[in-house]
């Protein structure tokens, strides 16, 4: 009897779980199926990309802070795609919330690095007593700087820049000195913990965003760009006049983070505000 009920219950619950499960699980499996296929899903785009040598591409990234809704999907997608440890201290990308008050004060937060969105700490409750003038979200990731200080300081050349303008880490070579973490002005780097199980199976070495190098070299978009429901993240080839990044850069006025440091970041921000850094 009890058995039956629990079985019925199981089917009932199972149905609900299944629906939710399909929804949640479709994210990683979708992403995974993309990475597994040898053929890019969009043959036309692939054909176009195939005509060009990867070394002739020069990747660029745009974050549109006027569009970002702080849902945190990008953070989740990135963690699943790149096997970034789930804890909020390890991030290849994260989302910050900026709050400006009428008297010019600035408040910034990023609960769980934006992984779970911001609804658990809504602004009207968390900043109840403030006279807020405006507020917005700023997605962050490695800027793949053109003049990357992290590459300059790496004592063993484990961090390097590719021809197509992406900064990568050879994790089988990294000695874990963490000089690059000190040198990156944007907090883009972190150390893989002892218990991590990333694609390269390395621990105690440095990791950071690669703009999903394994995907973009196949003609796919970075996972965060692909998942963003509002198109706040735009990616493409800076040398291709028809690429979405190029088009947007010629239409909008953009800014980069900490330009005075001379790192020449390649993540451009639309809707920038003084105080964002």
């Amino acid at each position: 009897m009890g058995n039956k009920i629990s079985r019925r219950q199981l089917i009932k619950d199972g149905g609900k779980t299944l629906l939710g499960g399909i929804f949640i699980l479709s994210v990683p499996s979708l992403l995974r199926s993309f990475t597994r296929t040898e053929e890019p899903p969009n043959p036309a785009a692939a054909a176009q990309l195939d005509q060009r040598d990867w070394e002739t591409r020069y990747w660029g990234f745009i974050c549109d802070t006027e569009k970002c809704i702080g849902c945190g999907r990008c953070v989740v997608a990135c963690k699943l795609e790149n096997k970034v440890p789930w804890e909020p201290e390890y991030n290849r990308t994260w989302v910050e919330r900026y709050i400006f008050t009428m008297d010019g004060e600035v408040f910034v937060d990023s609960p769980n690095a934006g992984r779970d969105g911001f609804t658990a700490e809504p602004m009207n409750l968390k900043y109840q007593n403030l006279d807020v003038s405006k507020s917005f979200f700023v997605p962050k990731l490695c800027n793949q700087c053109d003049n990357p200080p992290c590459v300059t300081v790496c004592p063993v050349n484990a961090t390097y820049r590719t021809e197509d303008g992406v900064v990568l880490i050879d994790q089988e070579h990294c000695i874990g000195c963490r000089y690059c973490i000190q040198a990156c002005p944007y907090g883009a780097r972190y150390v893989l913990p002892e218990a991590s199980s990333t694609h390269f199976g390395q621990v105690r070495v440095v990791d950071k965003c690669t703009w999903c190098y394994h995907r973009i070299s196949k003609g796919l978009l970075p996972a965060c760009v692909e998942i963003c429901p509002v198109g706040a993240r735009v990616f493409g080839d800076l040398r291709d006049p028809d690429s979405p990044v190029r088009k947007m850069l010629s239409e909008k006025r953009v800014y980069v983070l900490k330009p005075t440091l001379g790192t020449e970041p390649k993540v451009y921000y639309v809707g920038f505000e003084k105080g964002v850094q």
């Binding site: 909020p88 201290e89 390890y90 991030n91 994260w94 910050e96 600035v106 408040f107 910034v108 937060d109 990023s110 690095a113 962050k140 200080p149 300059t152 300081v153 790496c154 004592p155 063993v156 050349n157 070579h173 990294c174 000695i175 874990g176 000195c177 963490r178 000089y179 973490i181 000190q182 040198a183 990156c184 002005p185 944007y186 907090g187 883009a188 780097r189 972190y190 150390v191 621990v203 105690r204 070495v205 440095v206 440091l261 001379g262 850094q277």
Partner: protein, 393 residues
């Protein structure tokens, strides 16, 4: 944690081990400078500690790479710094500079102690004879002619050694000074400040060790030598204080965007170790004490405890300075909006116990080296080279 920090910033990546690393290199550089003041610049008053300081420098130099290697995420890949160096990295040159400097110091030690080594090799027996014969490297010529060539070589090595010591330590300062991402580190004064504080800490260490060793060995203290060292300490310390003050004053005067957080760092987060220990107890107070006692007509043996206390304060102050730079710099978030908190753990590779163990190693090395090659003045006085047997000490 306080205010906003970037999510990846929760950990202080360069911990206690990286704090003691520049501290140890600094002591090496300082001790070497003292020995060179005698060997190159002919400061006769420093003769009693000339050999002693060289052995001290060697003892600390041997331990220098240890904290750096222990700190790596992958110690087994440490050699890659030699094999695949990236010469734009301030860190990659370390291995080479260290090796060069080690060879130089070893060469100088060998030349200076050669007559003793030969004497021990000829007069001892058994295992001791073997050890000293190996150390003699097959060269037994101690004629006046050979020794005068030695002296020239010693002078040359000591002369090269001074810029080399400066390079070794100035470059350690550069590791931090060249990080533009960090407003508390990024200043071109950093290498010079590191250098000055290195010399200061080395001289102070020698003063302290000299007094302690003399007590233990019941050796009479050479007060002239002690006075000379204390005055040198005073000179370098004043210079050091001016430079360190200048650095912060410039930051305050220029009041760049980052000044707000730097100001908060030094007046709140590291106020005790910075204003309290580094500035007041480690610099101003010893300057006053030394100034007072060296000008006073006090008896020399009454001055000794004051000199000792000043030396101790200075070494503690320089350690605090290393802490304030290395740890302090990492407490402020690069978002310039918050602070990370850090208390060193007791256990573990990054803990206090390991750091303390590493800090005792140079003293153990010194103990062994000074038994092998006694640097004490009474045994080296020119003219009265009586044969020394191993048992005498």
């Amino acid at each position: 944690m306080e205010g906003f920090i970037y999510p990846n910033e929760g950990v202080v990546e360069w911990d206690l081990l990286i704090t003691i690393y520049p501290f140890i290199t600094g002591l090496v550089a300082g001790a070497f400078v003292v020995s060179s003041l005698y060997h190159v610049f002919g400061m006769k008053s420093l003769k009693p500690v000339a050999r002693f300081s060289l052995i001290t420098a060697l003892a600390f130099l041997l331990v220098t790479p240890l904290p750096l290697i222990v700190h790596l995420g992958h110690q087994e890949r440490g050699l890659e710094m030699f094999l695949t160096p990236n010469f734009t990295s301030a860190m990659s040159a370390f291995g080479y500079i260290w090796l060069m400097y080690l060879l130089l110091v070893l060469g100088e030690v060998w030349l200076i102690f050669r007559p003793d080594i030969v004497r021990y090799a000829l007069s001892s027996q058994g295992i001791k004879k073997t050890i000293y014969s190996v150390l003699a490297l097959g060269v037994y010529d101690v004629s006046e002619e050979a020794l005068s060539i030695d002296r020239k070589l010693i002078k040359a090595l000591a002369a090269i050694g001074v810029p080399a010591a400066f390079l070794l330590h100035g470059y350690v300062g550069f590791i931090f000074g060249a990080v533009k991402a960090n407003p508390w580190w990024s200043t071109s004064l950093m290498p010079v400040i590191f250098l000055m504080s290195a010399v200061v800490s080395g001289i102070a260490l020698l003063i302290g060790m000299y007094i302690v060793v003399a007590k233990i060995r019941r050796m009479p203290l050479d007060h002239g030598c002690l006075r000379s060292m204390t005055l040198w300490l005073w000179g370098f310390l004043s210079l050091d204080l001016v430079l360190e003050g200048l650095e912060v004053f410039t930051m305050l005067y220029e009041s760049e965007e980052s000044w707000g957080i730097v100001h908060q760092l030094i007046t709140e987060k590291i106020a005790v170790s910075y204003l309290g220990i580094q500035f007041v107890l480690g610099s101003v107070l010893p300057l006053l004490i030394i100034g007072f006692i060296e000008l006073s007509g006090l008896k020399e043996n009454i001055k000794t405890p004051f000199r000792f206390v000043s030396a101790f304060l200075v070494v503690a102050g320089v350690f605090a300075m290393r802490w304030n730079v290395v740890i302090g710099g990492q407490l402020l978030s690069k978002s310039l909006r918050g602070f990370i908190s850090y208390t060193p753990p007791l256990l573990g590779l990054d803990g206090i116990l390991v750091a303390a163990a590493i800090m005792t190693l140079p003293f153990i090395a010194f103990f062994i080296l000074s038994h092998l090659l006694p640097p004490w003045p009474e045994e080296t006085r020119v003219g009265e080279r009586k044969t020394l047997s191993f048992q005498q000490w």
